[in-house]
Symmetry: C2
Subunit: 149 residues, 2 copies
């Protein structure tokens, strides 16, 4: 896969990931380590919660999303974000098949560092019904081509 530098990117450019299915065991395993709340751990407790059934931790959705972004957004120097707006419009459920579509929204060369720039991208994580389970709009550092290289 060709690695992309700041000069290779354009506003509106899109990257699509492969799909990945998440099962109840994976949801519970992540939750045991990082988000041990009843609605992420046990079907019975989840039914009584606001979620009305087992739901993945938002951070699990975010982590899976990152694994799909790493494969699908081939930035030179890697995908290094400094943060951004994160939203979980609906939960990820057992059996959901997720994929991520990433769009380039803004491209800003650094004024002080000629070797890099900053982009804002929007990564939308969709389930099998084409509903967004996560929208993340990070600032990402991107390398520029080295002059003379």
């Amino acid at each position: 896969m060709q690695r992309l530098y700041l000069e290779d990117l354009s506003i509106g450019q899109k990257f699509a990931s492969r799909s990945q299915t998440i099962d109840a065991e994976a949801i519970k395993a992540y939750a045991r380590e990082f988000d041990p709340q009843p609605f992420h751990l046990a079907e019975d407790e989840a039914k009584k919660s606001l979620f009305g059934g087992l739901a993945a931790s938002g951070w699990h959705t975010a982590s899976l999303t990152m694994s799909l972004i790493v494969e699908s957004v081939p930035l030179a120097g890697g995908v290094i974000g400094t943060g951004g707006e994160l939203a979980w419009p609906r939960p990820t459920r057992p059996g959901d098949t997720l994929r991520v579509v990433t769009e380039v929204l803004e491209i800003t060369p650094s004024r002080s560092r000629p070797d890099r720039g900053m982009i804002i991208m929007c990564s939308t994580t969709l389930n099998q019904h084409e509903e967004a389970v996560q929208v993340f709009t990070p600032k990402v550092v991107v390398q520029r081509r080295q002059l003379g290289a």
Copy 2:
């Protein structure tokens, strides 16, 4: 630990977590599963990257932060966020000891649902030098006390 309802919260109220140390093995294990980029997986490659040395995935910092929030913010019904602004001002490094301070910023009862409300809180993840490695400002759904209960 006493579980807190919307009526129990006040603007400026703070919650402090315990500390947790993160080592290189944990950084690499998380990265292998969710963010397999060289600067999260191998010291040598990390030295050549923007990070200048092994750094945890921001999503690993976020996941650890959530585990500390679950222990330290005792909301009735659990901590259920719908998203918010997320920032990683600096990376988490091997050997860092993290703790999370959470502050209540806004409290808004729901107009349509008398059983709940929304708060905005700010969870700052600090390392052993009292430097912020993550700042997350989510909207969180909080239960109200049931009238007559």
